[in-house]
């Protein structure tokens, strides 16, 4: 905790707060009927994306999942463009052609949310390979869920990363569920570290509600990768506040599960308490961020609502490089 400058701490809080407010707002606007398609929210999991991406620069790349908003924000994708994308507008990050499940911004090192569970891990091997061949110290991070951790594409990518000794980190965000199915049931190992061992890489489990724990664990794995020490697996244990997707009644959870989580396992509250108690930041510093973020999200929604949908001609563009 102490190694982080005040500036960095503020940045971390702002990132987490931005993700939280973005998601809460998307939840509300979806309920009002303003947002089309399938939307999967990251609220509750902010410390993971933030604790990891704080270590990264634009040359480092991540791949994400269907639950990608948090990773995008943490990787620096413009929030105004993201909101417009989710609304399906021409001003969106992908001109409204991708939507929530396909937000990408390669300049920021964000290689895409992904609608295919297990779609990202193979791609990250290519990111790692590129860094390795070019001799940079860049890394690739694959975020994926506990459900995706059983997909063959994920598992074989871990083997490949070790065999090729790639600077890749495999981050399992274990939020306890894949859709309605419990990870305790669907994942055959008690501990993800066991799976890491089977693929010749270190594996660590970390409390995903604790920004500092994530930050430190990820920092070690990333530093090792940058130094040529190869891939790692990091299991981040955390929880999602909303349903699998918007519209999910969540009857597969204990009735009070989410309420309790919001009270006891809120990474923002935990962070605030820690930094204020340690006299690193004041409440007022954080309140100011809260206000700024609230204004930003308002602005994003307003702009998204006001923007035009893509013109029909856009249907036939971006299929190939020449059209």
């Amino acid at each position: 905790m102490s190694e982080l400058s005040k500036e960095k701490l503020l940045e971390a809080y702002r990132m987490m707060r931005t993700i939280r407010d973005f998601e809460e707002r998307v939840h509300d606007e979806f309920a009002k009927g303003g947002i089309p398609g399938f939307v999967h929210l990251y609220a509750g999991e902010e410390a993971s994306a933030t604790g990891i991406c704080m270590h990264l620069t634009d040359q480092d790349r991540i791949v994400s999942t269907h639950r990608g908003h948090g990773h995008c924000i943490a990787k620096g994708v413009d929030v105004i463009g993201m909101m417009a994308e989710i609304y399906g507008k021409q001003t969106g990050t992908c001109h409204g052609k991708g939507g929530s499940m396909h937000i990408a911004d390669l300049d920021k090192g964000m290689l895409g949310a992904n609608g295919i569970v297990g779609g990202g891990p193979p791609l990250i091997c290519g990111v790692g390979l590129t860094h390795k061949m070019r001799g940079t110290d860049g890394v690739g991070i694959a975020f994926f869920g506990d459900g995706a951790s059983n997909q063959g594409t994920t598992l074989e990518s871990m083997n490949l990363a070790t065999v090729w000794n790639l600077p890749c980190i495999f981050v399992v965000e274990n939020n306890g569920y894949a859709e309605a199915t419990s990870s305790e049931w669907a994942v055959s190992c008690d501990n993800y570290a066991d799976r890491a061992a089977g693929f010749g890489m270190p594996g660590t489990t970390v409390d995903g509600h604790d920004f500092f724990a994530v930050y430190e664990t990820a920092g070690e794995a990333i530093a090792r990768a940058r130094a040529g020490g190869g891939p790692s697996l990091v299991e981040v244990k955390l929880n999602r506040y909303f349903g699998h997707f918007e519209g999910d009644a969540q009857t597969y959870r204990r009735a009070d599960e989410v309420k309790q989580l919001r009270e006891e396992k809120d990474c923002l509250k935990i962070f605030r308490k820690r930094v204020v108690d340690a006299n690193l930041l004041e409440h007022s510093d954080l309140d100011k961020i809260d206000e700024e973020v609230a204004a930003l999200i308002d602005e994003a929604v307003q702009q998204a609502e006001a923007a035009s949908p893509p013109a029909v001609e856009e249907l036939l563009t971006h299929v190939y490089v020449n059209y």
Binding site: K89, G98, G115, G118, A148, V312
Partner: protein, 333 residues
């Protein structure tokens, strides 16, 4: 036959009745029970859209959740089918076939042939397909042309609740591997469906409208668009014959050829991408086997050669519309 239920209910009922009739029918897929291992309801979901809801309560462990591991469980369904089970495996979205296609096309589809007739593989793979839900490029595709291309598979595209039930029962009883594709926009469509079990045979087209002027061959959801347009044009005196092949493999080529022989004019309406598609396939049928009867160019109305876009403005332009179908008919009628 007065009872009306939805396409989705018709599918649920077909599964329920076949599971009741035959112990060897089992159902598997991600969240088809929907709550395994959790602390709440065991069958909370009953499928991502609630389609298999209720089957767990009735049939217990004969319907089972799976980890996210499509090669694994689709392969398991295929393997079990060779042992005499009749598994119905749900792939959720057909777009996910890319992570498990080998088990479908190199294994299930080819066993009988490679093994010199020694295997039967009565597996059904159910999945939703199609655009219209703003579900974007990886959750909206209409990939039936690819499955139709593959020898050894049967491919089913029900366009009504009646057909959904009867074709699914046929699929389950069929001894070959069947790809059963449900258009997600049709799930809420209501129609008359008999309560008792019945089958709709494969390879028998449904002539939805009769007419002497233009033959329209349409698939899945497009049957509804085509029928709407046919009804509209009928009022102007343009009589369209609307043919729903119901299964693209086997294909009822005879019914289509007969109609073309009568009308001399053909429009094919296909939600899939245009290249090497069902639209191509039917156009080929016409020009190779009914050439002498053709009085005008064949017209195809398909999605463009692009992925499915997210924004509604674009998705609407992507899906073959009644307007485009009408224009195609008028251009040759």
């Amino acid at each position: 036959m007065a009872r009306k239920i939805t396409y989705q209910q018709a599918i649920n009922e077909a599964l329920d009745q076949e599971m009741t009739r035959d112990e060897s029918v089992i159902v598997m897929g991600e969240d088809v029970v929907g709550g395994s291992g959790g602390h709440g309801e065991m069958d909370a979901w009953g499928g991502v859209l609630g389609l298999t809801k209720g089957l767990y309560a009735k049939h217990g462990n004969r319907i089972m959740d799976t980890p996210i591991t499509e090669s694994g469980y689709i392969g398991a369904a295929v393997g079990a089918a060779t042992c005499g089970m009749r598994p119905v495996a749900e792939l959720m979205f057909i777009d996910f076939m890319g992570v498990c296609l080998d088990q479908i096309y190199n294994q299930a589809a080819k066993f009988r042939y490679m093994f010199g007739g020694k295997a039967k593989t009565p597996v059904v793979i159910r999945a939703m397909y199609g655009a219209g839900f703003s579900a974007a490029a990886q959750h909206s595709q209409a990939l039936y042309s690819i499955f139709t291309h593959i020898p050894g598979l049967k491919v089913v595209l029900p366009s009504s609740p009646y057909d959904a039930k009867g074709l699914l029962i046929q699929a389950i009883r069929d001894d070959d591997p069947v790809i059963f594709l449900e258009h997600k926009v049709l799930y809420t469509l209501e129609g008359e469906v008999p309560e008792e079990p019945y089958t709709v045979p494969f390879g028998e087209a449904n002539v939805v409208r009769e007419g002497d002027d233009v033959t329209i061959v349409a698939f899945g959801r497009m049957v509804l668009h085509a029928t709407g347009v046919a009804d509209k044009l009928a009022k102007e005196g343009i009589k369209c014959e609307v043919i729903d092949p119901r299964t693209t493999s086997p294909l009822d080529d005879e019914s289509i050829l007969e109609s073309i022989e009568n009308t001399g004019r053909l429009v094919v309406v296909d939600e899939s991408n245009p290249r090497c598609s069902m639209a191509s396939d039917i156009a080929e049928l016409a020009v190779t086997r009914a050439f002498e009867h053709l009085k005008a160019p064949v017209k195809t109305v398909t999605a463009p050669h692009t992925p499915v876009p997210f924004a509604k403005s674009l998705e609407d332009a992507y899906i073959p519309s009644p307007e485009k179908i009408e224009a195609a008919i008028r251009s040759i009628a």
